[in-house]
């Protein structure tokens, strides 16, 4: 009995020592720093999986609510190499017709040697459709159900599509293809980490992309884990109307192709609010094939020249000089300038575009004949300091702040600056030696069409967040000229345009405007007349302007003159677009609001 007791005691002591040891070891593992670190590192590898979670990217809509940029589901189809190695031919036979891929490519991919460290899985495509996935599933099901003979079951059991796996993913999709692509920009869905490029996509990348977090998921089923709430990115609604945009895009494309121009730009805005109703450029790309942008665009031919490409606008700039001259009191519409064909300053002669002398001209005549000499004289009458103050007031020395990425501007050289000389004043007065973007020009001209009030241009109508919406309110950013000046200049330019560029006139709406043919300075050669920027700016109806349109053709080869290529383009586009802007013609208004409906052939409706 004693022997049994002593054995029991020994057992108890031994077990106590064992459990005591275990307890002490547990205590050690729980408190020792290196043991904790080891446990955590093991935990990182085997207990947790860290994944980056991105919320869905917000959509982009036109002003009517039509989708311009959305998200589409596609599937990445991959091959598990461990099981695909042995029957590449079999897999390729089934997958090639479903995925519309080359048989050999699939076969080679499937037969890549499995290597646990280097080659585990081989993706075939990132853009398989739901229908293709359903077909794969059907084939898999069919293969699983087939009856094999005992011989076949021994030899062909591995020949199935079990190695074919797929994962859903969301990618950016632009249903309207290249429509407004210069405004929208693109999101590189094949390489999302590169971030969005150009336009709205880049400007609002942060709010469109919503949230992105790295979350550590526990692999232990006992640890309840949830994906954090990830609200979708905000959606952006643009001010552009896709119908108007489409008309303008078709027209600019045709003009660029027919005139063999380098690029073309048309902007239409509402002068009363600063809304951009259309901003078309050509060439464009389909953002679904965004990788082509590097082939199409260069530093001389930017993605969206309307905001990214300052250039010497030429005579279009004369409207600014004229407005400054009238507003400052330096000139009046009836002021007469005697054009001798040259304007001399510091031994340098400035000539008219045709090298002609037009004799005594009123200010309207100066604009009708687009006299460089006259505008140089007007600038001199205004005075150097006042002239550049007006340019600042028109916002030509700063970006407009439109909600598009990469807006550029070219700083104006002023007295005291390195590049400014006394010759700069007269040349600047007719748009040479000074560079502006189309968006800067249309913003400045908006002031002429809106009683002197300059509105900030905007292309985003509203931003819709998960829980609230931000609607863009029109913002006045200055009043460079008085309302009276704006009215006078509009009336002068409506009159002068009838002589200067009758091709720009609209059938039943009276407009004001100005053409421009800016020579382009070539390195080592200077200004070359055969290479120009052909521009036109027009606004109407002259009585109460509701739209301003700016047209620019870069280096047209067939016809270099703004009055012959850009002016008729303006008329063509605005005639087509006017109805879609809900703007009646002058004649229609006269028919509605006056007792006499003018005949179509008369021009009485111009002055109803």
């Amino acid at each position: 009995m004693n022997r049994i007791d002593s054995r029991l005691k020994f057992l108890v002591i031994a077990l106590s020592i064992f459990f005591g040891g275990v307890f002490l070891r547990i205590l050690y593992l729980q408190t020792n720093a290196s043991a904790i670190a080891l446990k955590e590192s093991i935990g990182e590898s085997f207990e947790y999986m860290t994944l980056e979670i991105n919320s869905e990217r917000g959509n982009i809509y036109d002003r009517q609510g039509y989708l311009l940029a959305g998200n589409s589901v596609s599937y990445t189809v991959s091959l598990k190499l461990q099981t695909s190695n042995t029957h590449g031919e079999f897999i390729a036979n089934y997958l090639a017709p479903i995925l519309n891929m080359d048989h050999e490519v699939i076969k080679k991919s499937a037969e890549i040697k499995f290597d646990e460290k280097k080659a585990v899985e081989m993706p075939l495509t990132n853009f398989a459709t739901k229908e293709q996935i359903e077909k794969i599933e059907q084939v898999k099901k069919f293969l699983d159900q087939r009856e094999l003979s005992s011989f076949e079951s021994k030899t062909k059991t591995l020949e199935n599509l079990d190695s074919v796996v797929y994962y859903p993913n969301i990618h950016r999709y632009y249903p309207n293809k290249d429509l407004a692509s210069n405004v929208i920009g693109f999101f590189p869905f094949l390489n999302p980490s590169a971030g969005a490029s150009y336009g709205i996509e880049q400007f609002y990348d942060e709010i469109l992309s919503g949230h992105s977090i790295e979350h550590r998921f526990s692999l232990d089923p006992n640890v309840p884990d949830t994906i954090p709430d990830m609200p979708k990115g905000a959606s952006v609604v643009l001010t552009i109307d896709r119908k108007v945009q489409s008309i303008v895009e078709d027209s600019i494309k045709e003009a660029v192709v027919n005139n063999k121009a380098k690029s073309g730009t048309i902007i239409i805005s509402n002068p009363k609010t600063g809304e951009i109703m259309a901003m078309a450029t050509y060439p464009r790309i389909d953002p679904n094939e965004y990788w082509k942008s590097s082939e199409v665009f260069t530093k001389d031919n930017r993605f969206n020249p309307a905001v990214m490409q300052p250039y010497e606008v030429g005579s279009v700039f004369k409207v600014i000089t004229l407005a400054a001259g009238i507003d400052s009191g330096a000139i009046k519409p009836e002021t007469v300038f005697n054009d001798t064909g040259t304007y001399d300053i510091m031994g340098v002669s400035i000539y008219n575009w045709d090298r002609g002398a037009w004799g005594p001209q009123t200010m309207i005549g100066c604009m009708q004949h687009s006299l460089n000499t006259c505008l140089s004289w007007i600038a001199e009458q205004i005075g150097v300091d006042r002239f550049y103050k007006y340019l600042d007031a028109f916002g030509l020395n700063q970006p407009t702040g439109i909600q598009l990425a990469h807006e550029e501007y070219y700083p104006i050289s002023k007295p005291g600056d390195n590049y400014w000389t006394p010759i700069s004043l007269p040349t600047n007065s007719f748009g040479q030696g000074i560079m502006t973007t189309p968006i800067q020009m249309i913003t400045a001209v908006n002031a002429l069409a809106n009683g002197g009030k300059m509105m900030k241009p905007y292309i985003v109508k509203g931003i819709y967040f998960d829980d609230h919406a931000e609607i863009t309110q029109p913002e006045m950013i200055g009043q460079p000229i008085s309302a009276e000046t704006a009215k006078t200049v509009t009336e002068m330019l409506a009159t002068s345009l009838e002589v200067e560029a009758s091709d720009s006139l609209m059938e039943y709406t009276r407009i004001a405007g100005k053409t421009g043919t800016g020579e382009i300075a070539k390195e080592g050669v200077g200004y070359v007349l055969s290479v120009t920027n052909a521009s036109f700016v027009g606004w109407g109806p002259a009585d109460d302007p509701q739209f301003v349109a700016y047209v620019w053709l870069q280096e047209p080869l067939v016809n270099i003159w703004g009055s012959e290529v850009s002016a008729p383009l303006f008329s063509e586009v605005m005639t087509e677009v006017q109805l879609y802007l809900h703007l009646p013609t002058d004649r229609q208004l006269a028919c509605i609001y006056t007792e006499n409906c003018p005949s179509k052939d008369s021009d009485e409706y111009h002055y109803w």
Binding site: E56, N71, P221, Y464, D466
Partner: protein, 155 residues
Amino acid sequence: MKTSQSAYRLAPWRKQIQNILNVLIALIFIASITMIYLYCSAQMTKMKLEIQVLHDERSSLTRMIADNLTQEGQITSFFEMEKRARQAGYIPIDMYDEEVYTYLPVAGFQDESFSSLNGVSQINSIPVSIVKPEYTESLQRWLKENVSIKKSGDQ
């Protein structure tokens, strides 16, 4: 007088039964604790699996909504609509011929302004998680957060 004295306080078999019962009681206690633990773990696992299934469904629905919205955008894209309009026999208006269209002012008509954007604001976003934080955080963290909130509230 002769007295008899027992060699044991308890009979050995009784003592053995007592020991066995003690061990059994301890085992039953441990088993009960283990059962409760296993039951809770099973409940949590079941809940987590349900959560994961719901998450999968949610993700799938989110993708489907996005895809359907884009498909709708594709079907109503400008080029598709134009193609269908032409197929249906519509022709573009000749804007130079004023006789083919008429401008009529309609009393009370409001410009499209934002009315047509109502649909945009109703874009579905990923729903808020239905699992309250209390179910996913540890007692230690709950105490820490609540105590710290109370402390800051006191101040």
